[in-house]
């Protein structure tokens, strides 16, 4: 199959979850995002890669309404995106466990803010502790945990909400290789189990190709979408597989940022 | 090495300068005083040049109140000075100072004031022995009284309460400094305020009424003129010389009230920074009896005068638990530090001149 065909096949008959049209963001005179348009489908795992400082984070901030857009719309289920209405979850690049809350209270945090009934809060928290394997550490505080455990707490906190959309901003950037492999596999497992829509932003091409069903390549300032690549490799994927390396090299060429 | 020698040089230079400064031709007498009538004589002597043809050199240090003045005595900062009864007694008791003269009788200028609407003003002379004290004991009971504790006004207050058959337990005593007492009383704090001059003049100008005083309640409050123990022993002649000057000023105050008033005004306004109305200056001389050399000698030697007055104050302190029995015994043993010898010499000197 050619790329063209692959792409057409991929897009056919998919339900749009998030639609981004003509998204533009200017800081004073500095144009950061320029006319970005794309869709994210329901239940899709989409990766966005691009060089550092290309506006990836600005884009996510627009999506989650932390900052107003200059122009363009972001619609979730046909309505303007708004964290108070839509079930969004966000895993940040920086560790974002809340230091004064224990592991279980961290997981409860989102549920409580969303004013879920107490029995549901407890049920979901237990489920999540089980899912990320932190039952034994439920009363620990973030300071007592390793980096990977903290990241798992954050993931559990977000999945506890059963979010429609999970946004992840370079969550594994600072972790070492083996741990990253482990958490990537875990993410895929949870995603497959729960079936939410994931938007994963990374600078690591290998990671993007390993995780995504589809990769969007962002170009250098101001950010625009340079290319879309469908990754149709079976899971679990293998880094050394020549087909994998081929896609990886393809994405690398598309970016050309070093 | 280079640095060291430079430092040595500086130190040497400093030592030399200090040496030159201290080696004066005239004998220096360091005098202390307060912004008060009894502070005037020395300042007057200096300003008016009374020491020009004398072989002494006066330096004058002003203290805001008795406590720092006595503290400075401990620091060896002055030789002779005039102050209130309480600091005088402390200087005698703690530092062995000598009481060599009575600057004035302050009994009337340590007084108690109320606002014009006070019920205390309704009656006068409840105790016929003290006809000038206002109020019945019931009127005084439970009143909040602003007073600088451990001071001469406190003594006057104590005597007033006694005259009415009351004790401090019957009223509410609040300790406060004089200036703050005026401010507080002006903003409707407390029922009675105990002040000494010149603060009493502010009270008068505000229309407050005097209800008692040391004099009215039979408490004799003499202003003390004291000399440091060491100085008295080492330079008795200098003490006499200065005391002579002091008495000269007191004599003028007794005889020429108008002329002295001009100087007192200068002293208050120009030196102490106190702006007082003319009436207050006049009151200063009217309310404060001043003793002549002869009266002084008598007061210092007669058993029922200075020593009795000082004992009255000491008893008050002992009653309050401020001084111990041992302290009291010390005071009595030294006859309250009273030393009439200097005043007698002044008397002799003056007699010889005539």
């Amino acid at each position: 199959m050619t790329n063209q065909q692959l792409s057409e096949n991929y897009h056919r008959g998919k339900e749009v979850k998030v639609s981004v049209t003509d998204l533009t963001k200017k800081y004073d005179d500095l144009l950061v995002l320029n006319d970005i348009s794309f869709n994210i489908y329901k239940g899709e795992f989409l990766c966005i890669v691009g060089p550092t400082g290309c506006g990836k984070t600005t884009f996510l901030n627009c999506l989650s309404r932390f900052i107003p857009t200059t122009r363009g719309d972001i619609l979730v289920d046909g309505q303007p995106a708004d964290p108070t209405h839509h079930d969004m979850a966000f895993v940040f690049q920086e560790v974002s466990t809340i230091p004064w809350l224990s592991v279980e209270d961290n997981i409860r945090f989102g549920l409580k803010v969303k004013r879920r009934p107490p029995d549901e809060v407890e049920r979901r928290t237990e489920q999540m502790l089980e899912l990320v394997g932190l039952k034994k550490f439920r009363s620990y505080f973030p300071r007592q945990l390793s980096a990977s455990m903290e990241q798992r707490v954050v993931i559990a906190r977000n999945f506890a909400l059963n979010p429609d959309i999970l946004l992840m901003d370079e969550p594994y950037g600072q972790l070492d290789l083996k741990l990253r492999y482990y958490l990537e596999d875990e993410l895929i497992r949870i995603w497959q189990e729960i079936g939410c829509t994931v938007l994963f932003i990374t600078h690591n091409i290998e990671e993007a190709v390993y995780l995504a069903q589809r990769v969007l390549v962002l170009g250098q300032k101001p950010a625009t979408i340079k290319e879309e690549i469908i990754v149709d490799l079976p899971r679990p994927r293998n880094f050394a597989d020549p087909a994998f390396v081929k896609i990886r090299d393809h994405v690398t060429d598309a970016i050309r940022w070093w | 090495m280079h640095h060291l020698s430079r430092i040595t040089f500086i130190v040497l230079a400093l030592v030399l300068t200090m040496g030159i400064c201290s080696a004066q031709a005239k004998d220096e007498i360091r005098v202390s005083g307060q912004p008060c009538l009894h502070g005037l004589p020395t300042w007057w002597a200096i300003e008016d040049g009374w020491t020009k043809d004398k072989n002494i050199d006066l330096t004058y240090t002003l203290f805001p109140s008795g406590a720092p003045q006595v503290e400075a005595l401990a620091a060896d900062q002055w030789d002779v000075g005039a102050m209130g009864t309480v600091p005088t007694m402390m200087a005698i008791l703690r530092y062995g100072a000598k009481l060599i003269a009575i600057s004035n009788d302050e009994s009337e200028t340590n007084d108690l004031w109320v606002r014009p609407d006070s019920p205390i003003l309704k009656t006068k002379g409840f105790n016929p022995k003290y006809p000038e004290i206002y109020g019945k004991p019931e009127d005084w009971k439970g009143k909040k009284i602003l007073v600088t504790t451990v001071s001469t006004v406190h003594y006057a207050l104590d005597a007033t309460l006694k005259a009415l058959g009351l004790t401090e337990k019957d009223v509410e005593v609040v300790n406060i400094e004089q200036g703050q007492a005026v401010t507080a009383f002006a903003s409707s704090q407390g029922d009675v305020v105990c002040l000494w001059a010149p603060f009493s003049y502010t009270a008068e100008s505000k229309g407050w009424k005097k209800v008692s005083s040391g004099a009215r309640s039979g408490a004799m409050i003499p202003g003390g003129v004291v000399v440091r123990k060491d100085f008295a022993e080492k330079h008795p002649d200098l003490v006499v010389e200065w005391l002579d000057l002091y008495m000269t000023a007191l004599d003028r105050m007794r005889t020429d009230k108008a002329g002295s008033g001009v100087w007192l005004n200068k002293y208050f306004a120009g030196y102490c920074g106190l702006q007082l109305p003319e009436s207050a200056i006049k009151s200063e001389f009217e309310l404060r009896p001043i003793f002549s050399v002869e009266q002084q000698v008598k007061a210092l030697t007669a058993p029922d005068e200075a020593s009795a007055w000082m004992k009255g104050v000491a008893d008050f302190f002992a009653g309050q638990g401020r001084i111990t029995k041992a302290d009291m015994a010390d005071l009595e043993k030294s006859n309250f530090g009273i030393d009439a010898s200097f005043m007698k010499k002044v008397q002799e000197k003056r007699a010889a001149k005539k």
Binding site: M149, D176, L177, K178, L179, Y182, A240 | -
Partner: protein, 253 residues
């Protein structure tokens, strides 16, 4: 290998620390040799005592037992013959770039003119020309680390000890710094001991990789790397080596 070729060597180094929670054995009988102008990478997970090992090599920390030999002589103190590049840069915030780079020379009381000439050479080498008068806080992380590298180089050490120098940098800067470090090293060869927890970085830079275990730190394995530099991240041999090494590391959860 012949011993005469050995520049710096650790012999049976052990080190432990006493804390409130008892004694922690950090290094257990670690021995290694680094040849002249060799680029040795010590790879290990976080908290495996590799920084402590480097501090022992530098002479900053005395080992409990064992010794460090430099040019056949025992090391007891830090010295200008061993330059250290720290993870947190350790630049002097009150000195300009130029004065930072010239620090080691100033310590030796070299005349200012000469000092600045040498400093300039290394500032140029690390590509910071034009930033001589900037203060560290005005620089990005990558630039700071360049200053740190220049500072070590300017002192002309025989051995360069680098303690996870790029781990605080973002990914893109990290890649370019790795590339740049290689080119600097090619231009001015030094004996380098480079510490990292990043497998790719290790394979990209090293002549030889020494893999350490978790606490107590011991040397688990050695991987000689023979392929020519600069290496390609997606080369089959690169990926193979990466797999081989990561198979040997433990998963730190």
């Amino acid at each position: 290998m012949s011993t005469s070729n050995v520049k710096i060597a650790a012999k049976g180094i052990s080190k432990s620390f006493t804390t409130e929670n008892g004694t922690i054995q950090v290094l257990d009988n670690v021995s290694l040799e680094v040849k002249t102008n060799e680029f040795l990478v010590i790879l290990g997970p976080g908290q495996c005592g590799k920084t402590i090992l480097l501090n022992c090599l530098a002479g900053i920390l005395p080992p409990d037992s064992g010794e460090v030999i430099l040019n056949g002589k025992k090391v007891t103190e830090p010295g200008p013959d061993r330059g250290v590049v720290f993870q947190q840069y350790a630049l002097f915030p009150w000195k300009t770039v130029r004065d930072n780079v010239a620090f080691g020379l100033a310590i030796r009381h070299m005349p200012v003119k000469e000092r600045y000439e040498i400093a300039q050479k290394y500032i140029d080498l690390v590509g910071l020309t034009g930033f001589e008068k900037s203060y560290p806080h005005q620089l990005s992380g990558g630039m700071k680390q360049r200053v740190s590298i220049a500072r070590s180089y300017a002192n002309n050490p025989e051995v360069l000890l680098m303690d996870e120098p790029f781990s605080a940098l973002d990914a893109q800067t990290r890649y370019s710094m790795e590339k740049e470090l290689l080119s600097i090293w090619e231009q001015e060869k030094r004996t380098v001991v480079f510490i990292t927890n990043n497998v790719e970085e290790a394979i990209y830079l090293g002549d030889r990789i020494v893999l350490m275990t978790k606490l107590p730190g011991t040397i688990k394995m050695e991987f000689p790397l023979t392929s020519p530099k600069p290496r390609n991240y997606t080369d089959a041999s690169f990926l193979e080596m990466r797999l081989a090494i990561s198979e040997e590391t433990e998963l730190a959860l």
